[in-house]
């Protein structure tokens, strides 16, 4: 097995707690940890609002803990690295963030997350809190369209959070927020490529192996297998492969508008992503697809995995409105 990355850490078993402390401090007072739990919550929650609860395993930085704030998540329930949060964490987060109008759970579609959030949702119903669930399943590599419910949630999470967060900020009912979040998720398609593995600090082991000249097209956000291992190839060819799959999965034509995200899985240079963006834009321009906004950066990593993913969200006026609402957090806009 390949050499494990050198890391500057204290006790590897405490990474999540120490990280959440550091994150709360980095948020300049806009969020805090809830009673030392693995929960980040807004300090500026209005008295009455529909609550957006996000969450999932840690280690996919800066998601989820980095997307708590106005017009984003109201709180995040954080698990250990690559492990869904426990039902208690989710329940505690939901109860603390609840402001009388119900809670939308928004998270990536994984067996572990589904089970833990479902248990939490059953417990919250006993407390008479209205809970709805929307699962992000944007990874087109994970299953064919007819089994879209089996698809994983990857970087599409961010656009979903941004839209749902905006809706939860402005809309009056849980029904409405759920409807809009569902529309966002239905319009999201992503796919990634990995060139090198990431690791879990506590095990110190890389999560998969790739030969020196190999890449994996369609790899998931925990190193789950993708479509195929193949020989390293050019940026243009990789962009072509990913875009062919993505555009083949959603109806997009001349004049349609999209949001476009190129997300760093960890150790990839921005240079690579910008070079890929150049090709992606050529492909989109050829089809007359209009890019309303572009986000190139580090939004959902797999620790130090090298590689990137491309996300397309088809837009309408409503989605555009909520997506573009201003928001500020460690994971989003730092300046």
């Amino acid at each position: 097995m390949a050499k494990v990355p050198k890391k500057i850490l204290n006790d590897p078993r405490n990474v999540v707690t120490e990280m959440l402390d550091g994150l709360a401090l980095a948020n300049d007072g806009r969020v805090e940890r809830l009673d030392g739990k693995d929960i980040l919550i807004r300090t500026d929650l209005p008295d009455s609002k529909v609550t957006l609860l996000i969450g999932g395993g840690s280690g996919h930085e800066p998601i989820f803990h980095g997307f708590v704030g106005k017009n984003m998540g109201d709180a995040a329930a954080c698990g250990q690295v690559f492990a869904a949060p426990s039902p208690d964490t989710i329940v505690d987060a939901a109860m603390a963030a609840h402001r009388g109008k119900g809670v939308l759970f928004l998270y990536g579609n994984y067996a572990g997350d589904n089970m833990n959030f479902d248990i939490a949702s059953e417990l919250l119903e006993e407390e008479d809190i209205d809970v709805r669930t929307v699962r992000v399943n944007d990874d087109v590599a994970a299953a064919p369209p007819e089994r879209a419910d089996d698809r994983r949630g990857i970087a599409g999470d961010i656009y979903a959070i941004k839209v749902a967060g905006g809706a939860a900020g402005e809309c009056d009912t849980l029904d409405e927020v759920e409807r809009i979040a569902r529309k966002a998720v239905g319009n999201l398609r992503s796919m990634g490529v990995a060139v090198a593995a990431g690791s879990i600090p506590e095990t110190g082991k890389l999560t998969f192996e790739l030969a020196d000249d190999e890449i994996e097209i369609g790899m998931g956000a925990h190193g789950e297998a993708g479509i195929a291992k193949q020989k390293m190839t050019s940026a243009d060819e990789v962009a072509d492969q990913l875009m062919e799959r993505i555009l083949g999965d959603i109806s997009l034509g001349e004049g349609d508008e999209i949001a476009l995200m190129i997300n760093n899985l960890g150790a990839t240079t921005m240079m690579e992503m910008l070079i890929v963006n150049r090709r992606v834009r050529q492909i989109l321009a050829d089809r007359g697809i209009i890019v309303h906004r572009t986000d190139v950066g580090t939004y959902l990593t797999v620790q130090e995995m090298a590689g990137f993913s491309i996300t397309v969200m088809k837009l309408d006026d409503e989605l555009k409105h909520y997506l573009d609402l201003p928001a500020r957090s460690v994971g989003l806009s730092n300046m």
């Binding site: 250990q80 492990a83 208690d88 572990g112 248990i119 095990t203 789950e224």
Partner: protein, 208 residues
């Protein structure tokens, strides 16, 4: 022996927790092969919390429930939910009981098997821990013995058969799902944990 006292049950579940903690690397490597590599450290986290709660004086039912709650709240991930459910889901079989005997254990295992299958939304064949729990429950049922060592031995045997059988399966849930055919040949990590749990019970009974 025919039954375990309350304090023996607590001791046995402590041995179960320690056995899982001891096997952290085995579970890590198994999960690296088909998943994300955190199954070992997840079970360790849950079992360390269980050890804190497993103190003398607990009833049989509470000992199982406490173990399940610790795992459910500290392990996280798929394993937290399903192993939490495993220990809690069948604990009703011990309601009011002052001892653990073969009949109640058989009941526990059968109920737990149903509970995890429901929680996970999977039947046998999906390459999960359900593939170890179900055959273990059937083996106990078939054995129909009232000797706990015999029963635990049968349970571990059933689980190990399940681990073996899981190698040939194509995962249809969990992180291994995306491997598709590439998952063939690897055992399911959660199934291995089930065999460790039942094996530790057997060793505890044998040590009495």
């Amino acid at each position: 022996m025919k039954e375990l006292t309350e304090s023996q049950v607590v001791e046995m579940l402590r041995e179960v927790s320690k056995a899982l903690i001891d096997k952290v690397d085995v579970l890590t490597d198994a999960d690296l092969a088909t998943g994300d590599g955190d199954h070992g450290i997840g079970m360790r986290r849950g079992c360390e919390a269980a050890l804190e709660g497993l103190v003398p004086g607990l009833s049989v039912q509470d000992a199982f429930k406490k173990t399940g709650m610790a795992i459910m709240s500290k392990t996280g991930g798929a394993a937290g939910a399903v192993f939490g459910t495993f220990f809690r889901g069948g604990a009703g079989a011990f309601a009011e009981a002052k001892t653990l005997d073969a009949a109640r254990f058989a009941d526990f295992l059968a109920q737990s098997a149903q509970a995890v299958s429901k929680r996970g939304g999977v039947e046998e064949g999906a390459k999960t821990m359900v593939d170890a729990v179900m055959p273990a429950a059937r083996a106990v049922e078939a054995e129909a013995s009232d000797d706990l060592l015999v029963v635990f031995t049968a349970a571990e045997r059933g689980a190990l058969d399940g681990v073996e059988a899981s190698k040939a399966m194509i995962a249809t849930t969990g992180k291994a799902r995306s491997l598709g055919e590439r998952s063939i040949g690897h055992p399911d990590p959660g199934a291995i944990s089930v065999s460790i749990i039942l094996g530790a019970m057997k060793s505890y009974a044998a040590s009495l």
